[in-house]
Assembly symmetry: C2
């Protein structure tokens, strides 16, 4: 053996060693396609991955690299997948947001998502183009602690609940209605789904409920899921909500839940009987199987914050050795009143960071106040932020920013605040708004406060819940308040143990204060996670440190001005 070869082998050994004992590269080959499925007793077309709905669960360990070769097998539609809660540090092109981080993947083309899952936690993934998430394009992404590391709490087993809502009307029809004048709202979901299964127009607990039929036993999809447990053990229940619209309340009959994780970060353990979960949020709760082992118990999911026209979804907590098909003998838990916002606020305020979680910088460089309003633009119903309703440009921001392309988006700077005269308690005097593709440029490494200000919608006495989700970062939730945010509210900010999250809700007529450090080079969506609201313009785009963005894969640029301008040099 030549000396040079030996040298090569010796130099390679540490790298090899590292790969086999520490972080792994986990490869997945996925095809997105439409398929027939029966999520809630009724057959429908859903978007799935590799013929599965919901999509396959990704399970990895902290520091692993995930590689998903995503082939689009839809016939005429583009597709992208967003890895919700993964910050994409150093890989902003893998964030999976059409028009922001990449070009949508065309039919029969493949895009390779390669990114690191740097932290353990409960995450999920979903489509981020049009309303494909609402169409069923989602799945779980669970990151365990790295080998040799320990979670902050003990548990004997796991249950994973991926929560969603479901319409019988296709997302194509829904989008047409939302974009029509007169406006047609999508209405309330026909069903809530737990791991892709719900009960439409029937109930597993029919014998406890008047006026509802039992679900047909021959229809497997209607029978819900049963999650098997052993008595006197502790289970970690991972929960993520990818609903298009519904805010949810989860209860498990006779059992307390101890919340320990929110959006991939540990929180101070807090025991609750029921918990609210907004779209875009994830949690872990611990459940101890300390109830009578002679029976099974209900897992019940109901709607919060909107007058419910959707029946609760039920699943079964199956105490072994009972049959998983044995229905609980007790009635399902009673859901809290849908508009008991005090109950919801009380839960949100209980979520506090576990000691050891990063704390917010005290010095703030910039404050952006974002007024959330429902508006009219040329007769069309929209949502707007500081009077701008977001429309996405055909050339993704990341590429046009990196290559400094002119006219790819509106160059004008969006407002930092809204008028002092604006009364958030009433419908706007002037309800008109404009559309825009503007960007909030953030100084790299600066600390930014965002005040999300809720307001009255178009109709009097209506103000809705909006869960806001930030891409590329976690933020600290410094506090929630009532009415219009005032300067003195700063004094109430929790700087000691604010929860570190990627999604936070604004309550009707209230405000929510967030802080984050703009330390992740890229272009990032920040938006209401209610899918039709985002579709109606309820979002903004942040950008920071673009000069530090590495080489964007050319497949992410193969559309719009990045495709045509970059080919200009070619003969």
């Amino acid at each position: 053996m030549a000396v040079s070869s030996l040298f090569l082998i010796l130099c390679s050994l540490p790298a090899l060693f590292q790969i086999t004992t520490a972080a792994k590269v986990r490869h997945f080959k996925w095809e997105v396609g439409a398929l027939f499925s029966t999520p809630d007793c009724v057959e429908n077309v859903v978007l799935g991955i590799n013929g599965q709905f919901p999509g396959p669960t990704i399970r990895a360990k902290a520091s692993d690299t995930i590689v998903v070769e995503l082939k689009n097998h839809l016939h005429t539609e583009g597709v992208v997948i967003h890895w919700h809660g993964i910050r994409q540090i150093g890989t902003p092109w893998a964030d999976g947001t059409a028009s922001i981080s990449q070009c949508a993947i065309n039919p029969e083309e493949t895009f390779v998502y390669r990114f690191k899952v740097d932290r353990p936690g409960t995450y999920f993934y979903h489509g981020h183009y049009g309303m494909q998430r609402s169409g069923g394009l989602y799945g779980s992404l669970i990151v365990d602690v790295a080998d040799g590391e320990k979670e902050a709490f003990h548990y004997d087993g796991e249950i994973n609940l991926l929560l969603s809502d479901w319409w019988h009307k296709s997302i194509y029809d829904q989008m047409v209605g939302l974009s029509s004048n007169p406006f047609r709202w999508i209405g309330e979901p026909q069903s809530l789904l737990i791991n892709g299964r719900g009960q439409y127009n029937c109930s597993l607990a029919a014998k406890f409920t008047t006026g509802v039929a039992a679900c047909p036993a021959r229809n497997r999809s209607c029978q819900g899921n049963a999650f098997s447990v052993l008595p006197n053990k502790t289970y970690r229940i991972r929960i993520a909500s990818t609903t298009a619209l519904a805010s949810l309340n989860l209860q498990i009959g006779n059992h307390k839940m101890v919340v320990v994780e929110a959006d991939g970060n540990y929180v101070q353990p807090v025991a609750v009987d029921d918990m609210d979960i907004y779209s875009g949020e994830s949690y872990s709760v611990l459940l101890t199987t300390n109830q009578s082992p002679s029976m099974n118990y209900w897992i019940s999911l109901s709607v919060r914050g909107r007058e419910p026209q959707t029946r609760p979804a039920l699943a079964i907590l199956n105490y072994k050795p009972n049959s998983p098909a044995k229905l609980p003998t007790l009635p399902p838990p009673v859901s809290p009143r849908w508009n008991d916002y005090e109950h919801s606020k009380s839960f949100s305020n209980k979520i506090l960071a576990l000691r050891g979680t990063p704390t917010p910088p005290v010095k703030v460089d910039r404050r952006i106040v974002l007024l959330n309003t429902q508006n009219k633009i040329s007769g069309f119903t929209k949502w707007a932020i500081n009077n701008i309703s977001l429309v996405l440009p055909s050339t993704p921001y990341l590429g046009s920013l990196k290559y400094n392309l002119k006219n790819a988006f509106d160059a004008e700077r969006p407002p930092e605040d809204f008028s002092k005269d604006y009364d958030v308690a009433k419908p706007a005097v002037n309800q008109n708004s404009t559309t825009g593709t503007t960007i909030y440029f953030l100084r790299f490494n600066s600390t930014v406060d965002v005040i999300l200000q809720n307001a009255n919608a178009l109709a009097a006495n209506v103000s809705e819940i909006h869960p806001w989700h930030l891409h590329g970062h976690d933020f600290w939730v410094l506090g929630y308040g009532e009415g219009r945010f005032k300067e003195e509210d700063v004094k109430t900010f929790n700087l000691k143990n604010p929860p570190y999250r990627n999604t936070a809700v604004i309550f009707p007529y209230g405000w929510t204060a967030l802080r984050f450090v703009a330390n992740n080079p890229g272009a990032w969506a920040f938006h209401c996670h209610i899918e039709p609201h985002l579709h109606m313009g309820m979002g903004v785009v942040f950008s920071e440190g673009i000069r530090l963005v590495g080489k964007i894969p050319k497949e992410a640029l193969a559309c719009g001005k990045t495709a045509t301008i970059l080919t200009d040099q070619h003969p």
Copy 2:
């Protein structure tokens, strides 16, 4: 004035003069979008242009240049428009076939179609991506003779009939069914439409028909169209069929029709009581209003070649000064029996070129025999040509051929003929097939005979009608025959006055012989015009004279390998 400026002006004058007095450039600004519409008494989502369904009619004169700035306003789908019957001489990138002539136009992007309409005639346009044509993306394109020129016949007025069929199930659901195993056929259309209007589950002629309700008068869409005429005049009725599936029969109560044009070429005048129109075909007929002017008459459209489960569509020929709302007092004409193929063949054989139409070259350079079979591929139901079921590559052929890109499509040459042992009268012994993206490379300016050979489908005793449409060329229809094509059938070819067309039908268990000259540089689809059949692979691609193709607009290349490879040189 400097001498050079004067020189410039003088040299420009002839060009200016030409533009104003002869051929015009006609500009159109279109947005494709989905909208609510009620084609057949039932509200549905349709694809439309500028909020209209069917799309706006283009009217031009021979030698004009059409410029359509097409913006895609769909949310997640690409789009293209094919100008059916326009040969695109010198502009193969404007043919509007996704994956063949151009990249599909992404949402919010604009593609400029610029092409010359070189010949007068009755044409139409339609989507050519997925099943968007079936979704309603179509309209009329009518080219008049150039100023100073005369048509080959006289007429006093015009009526335009754009014929289609309509399903209540969305094209998205239809495509999923076609691509599923087990296979789900789209079924028969719910309605036939005349200029976008039909009658579902009701009839304008209810009083003549047992068991059918009258159409609700308050529903404007159900009331059909009335076409007003004056007595004792001659009208040119332009007819084009853009059906997804249905072969049609048209009748006008009490009136003869004299066929004078087929697919943009004059034919020998022939008087008929009813006429068959296959998807992809266009005709002009002359109608003389020589019947009693005291009443109105039915225009009736019914299904041919498939056992009809779809009611005829009716419209009204309104003799002025009768009210257009006045229903005819006679019952609608009786449609020919759906499977009276002798009647259909008799009509096809009557269509002969008018003297002065180009005649076919006598010397033939190549004969390609294309066997049409229904097949199974890994359990999926497909159509195949010489055992290859066409799948379209993600990089359009025109770009990958022009830039000589490797691995953009299957390099293997597809077969010129099929096995001598194959029995076209029976289901195939081996029904399996393969998919492919192969091309038939044609020598530039060579004369090619294509024998389209029909056969038995998967089930015994089933052989269907397939109307084949060629892009970029007209072909001569040399003849139709029964059973398997034999060498001696060549003797029966009509070389004297074969009709010059772009669409020709093959009858069950029969063959159709076509001849064309490969004189148009580009890549061209040749396919069954039944939309679900093409979706299931029933087509081939021809290419010729690629080295003579001019500069392809970069927007036509902004996808797939043409986008990524061409950007490779860029930093």
